[in-house]
Structure formats: C-alpha cells, structure tokens
Symmetry: C2
Subunit: 290 residues, 2 copies
C-alpha cells in the first residue's frame, strides 16, 4: 500500500496500491535498511528528524557502494502514538532530496517503538554494478575520505557538544557518496563497499568475499577522531574501493570534481595476510550501531 | 545492507551491499507493507510463521492490484531477543515461493517488538499498470471471488477453530491474485485495487480516485461469512475490477484457467451515488487490521 507521508516528485505516481516508475535502465539494484529508535540512534541525544535522515542516508549508501544511480525509495514506518511523524518525514525528505532520490511510497503502522525501514531502488546503466567480491591481488585499496568522524561525533555529542558541531553533524547527517560510487564504477573499480561498520570489519568482509588478503600501509584519521575510531567506529559511509589503476581512479574523480580517493594499501593473494603497517589487523567494528 | 535470512534464488545476487536484478521490462511497480505482531496479527491465535506469510502476501497483493508481475522482494525485520526467526523466515519463504517471487535481500535489527516490512518490486511489460483512478461511467464492477472469508476465519479462530479450518486458513495464508491481476490488465480493465480493507471502504477509495460513483446490485458472500463480514471484513485480497467489457474479462480469465470474475454492479457518473441494492453504502471497513 502507498500510505500517508509519501510525497511524490517528478516522474512518479503515488496514491495507488503501488508506485509506478518509468523503465529502469540496465541492472536494477535493490537494498533495504531498518533503523530503530534506541538501537540505531539514541533519541535523548538526537532527534526523530535525524533518525529519518540517517535511515535514508544509510540505505542510499548501499546503492553508492554498488556504483548505482538512486531512482526511488519507499518507507515502512511503525510508530507509537504521539510520534512526531512530520519531524520524521522532514528528515526522510531532506536526505532523499540531498541525493535527488524521490520518495515514491510508504506504509505506516502503529507499533510499540519507532522503526523506519527504507528500501532503495537504483540502476546501473552500462557496465555492471560493483560487487564486494571482485578484488584481485595487485589491486590498490582506497577510501574516499578520512575515517572515524562519525564515531568522534557521537563521542562528542555524549560529552555535550552541540548538534551543529561538525563531527556531530557527520554522525547525524551522513552523506551517501553516490557520485563517488559511480565515478569508481566508471574508473573500472574491481570491488567496492561502504564503510558502515568500520574499516576493521568491512575490509575483512571485502577480503572474505573476494578470497584475498590485504596489506594496509596507513589509515587516514579524520580531524578530531582517534586512531581506534578510524578503524572500528563505523557509520562513516565512506567508500572502500579496490581498483587496478589508481591513476585512472584519480583522473575520473578529478574530472567529476570529486575529492581524490586516498590510497591505503593493496590487495594480496594470500587470504591469511590481513595487516596494517605490517601488523595483523584484528576484525573489529560496530556490530550494533548506537 | 543485505543481511542474514536472505536466501537467493535464480538470477539474483545477494550477500553484497545490495541485490542486483536483471533488467526489468517496462514499467517498474514498487510497494511496501509493514506487519507488526499484535497489530496485524494476534500471536496468541496465530504463529510467527503466519506473520511472515501474511506480510509477504499482503505486499504481493499490491502488485496484483496493478496487474504486475512480481520480480523480487526485500525484507526489513526488527525483532526482540528470542524471536524464532527461522519460523518467521519459513512463512516469508513459503509465501514468496507460492507466488514465484524471490527474496533478494533483507536487513535485520533488534527491537522491542516483532515487525516485518516487505518491499515488492514488479514489472508491467507492454501495457501500463492498472491504477485505481481509471474507472469510467458505464464500466462494470467485478470481484475475483466471494468476500468475507478472512474475517470469518478470524472470528472462527477466536472461537476455537483449528488452524486448518478453511476459513482460518484463508485468514492466515492469503493468496495474492497475481495471475488474476495480469489477466484483468490484459483484458483492458480501466481500474483495479485489492480488497485489503474491505469492499465497504476500498470501493469508496476507487470511486474517489476515479471521480465516479457506483451502484452495486449485490455482493457475493463467502461460505460461512456474514453479510457484514463481506462488506467490511477486510484482508480478503480479492481484486476489485472496473472494466468496460465484461465478456472480454470473462474470456481472458477462462483462457488462463482462472475462475470467472463475479459482476457486482456498475460505475456511474454521479460521484454522490454510492449504493448497494438501491440503498446508500456507508464507508466502513478495517482501519487497522487485527
């Protein structure tokens, strides 16, 4: 059902049993993410609007990680009586608008707690979506930006920092890197994923899926973050990219006006090699986000 | 994120940031539905498996109502510790398999209550999806089967009937009428919707969306159901169809081996005319399902 709180935009139809989209080009990419108040976001520190924003941004980040163009999203919300649904929707709409992705439908139900499930639909015209399983020995590894900022923001907020503190803002209003993901796909990236749970666990996942190991030289730490936060903080939503040709990657990013990816190491054939600066990198990261 | 409990099937890839589907043909149709334990299904009377089954069937029914082919679905589940997720998934998988629609992804989060959000993606090759707004004066109105069976099943279950009672089965294992929806689309239906909340409210919605009235002659009552249940019971998931040519509708259904739609009345130009057997049909139906 297409329910209340589901604004249309552009080409799409709502208010019917289902939303109708114009034909999608090429591969269709689909992902879903659920955000629960008190589990994914502490509502004593952040707002319902932030919860809506983060739910949408996290889902769109999964499309970014495939190199896809975001085409539409739908919401399923359960909420206790008294929930400020307009505030929630404000966050949803802002995150959707920031990525140019229309909200085409939704369903709303009463429930004992506030939960927002976001399903995103994207397309990969031309070349195929970039999976996490394609990394090969010799590929260079890159991240799209310094890490640990979101975790630092949460720490700072807990210590009393305001909502407009830059690190706090990074935590509550993450930016899905859709343009960066498409640029990496266009530059021939072999494998990609988004760093939702932290490099210390997500890089292991990419290596596992690809059947390879890795040797990191260093990890770029965001301003104000600790080294530990850069490894295991999570929710940065920067992209992790394995690409055979770092120069081509840099060129495509530059041509599209995007910040240059930061090289962090290389992919190695031995699956047991999992090192940072020559020492074993333990598998650690956010298992649950809070 | 594509999380646990998300089996692949056929052409689709899972275990990545997102699922990848082969290109979709024609219009893409998307809908989402959330089912909450205790709100949409009483777990003292029914099982967690039934909740999973109903959540998927209700979502697929929205695709049926557009005349679409179901192509894929994703799940977002929140659940308290101790939830039997395998039992839930059994219901999800059974409903998906019954409609030939693969589960391509999902996300799982802990939460205080069990909620299942299902997003379905379908396609309408060739002619466009059938909306609820296309009914025109002179169209004949049809339903795909007798009504009230699901509500009768809930009533019988509350009175102690077993889970295999036919009406109880209709309540806990509804069948999305995807083939019937495509047949109605193929036969040139002007408008269609699924009777999720009961004819007494859904027919008004179709009339509102189309800017028309209706004159019903009679409503077919399912065996064991009351007249009231047939009007306002809800959750039958039979399709309501407005079509200009009843003979063609019957022919297409017959050619596809489907039971003949049952004529219930006609669409009239006057939006204020909303009658059953000459008397006003009040707007009434399930506002919340339980």
């Amino acid at each position: 059902m297409v329910g209340p709180g589901s604004p249309a935009r552009g080409e799409l139809f709502v208010g019917d049993d289902a939303a109708i989209l114009r034909p999608l080009v090429g591969q269709v990419v689909v992902s879903t993410d659920v955000a629960v108040a008190g589990v994914h976001l502490d509502l004593s520190l952040f707002s319902v609007t932030d919860l809506g924003y983060k739910a949408v941004a996290a889902a769109l980040s999964d499309l970014a990680a495939m190199g896809a163009l975001a085409r539409a999203l739908v919401l399923a919300v359960t909420s206790p009586p008294g929930t400020d649904l307009e505030a929630l929707h404000e966050g949803v709409a802002a995150a959707a608008a920031a990525s140019g992705c229309p909200v085409v439908g939704g369903d709303l139900s009463r429930g004992g707690e506030l939960a927002v499930a976001v399903t995103v639909i994207g397309e990969c015209p031309g070349a195929g979506a970039v999976r996490r399983s394609g990394a090969r020995a010799g590929d260079r590894l890159f991240v799209t930006g310094p890490l640990g900022r979101s975790a630092a923001g949460l720490r700072r907020r807990r210590a009393g920092a305001g909502l407009d503190d830059p690190a706090v803002l990074a935590h509550r209003r993450p930016r899905p890197l859709l343009a960066e993901g498409r640029a990496a796909r266009g530059a021939g990236a072999h494998a990609m994923m988004d760093l939702s749970d932290g490099l210390g666990i997500d890089l292991h996942r990419l290596a596992d899926a690809s059947g390879v190991g890795f040797s990191l030289t260093s990890v770029p730490v965001a301003e104000g973050a600790t080294a530990d936060e850069s490894i295991s903080g999570g929710e940065d939503y920067e992209l992790l990219v394995a690409a055979p040709d770092g120069r081509r990657l840099a060129e495509v990013f530059a041509a599209r006006g995007l910040p240059a990816p930061i090289e962090v190491g290389e992919v190695v054939a031995d699956v047991a090699t999992r090192t940072l600066a020559g020492r074993p990198l333990e598998r650690r990261g956010f298992e649950h986000r809070l």
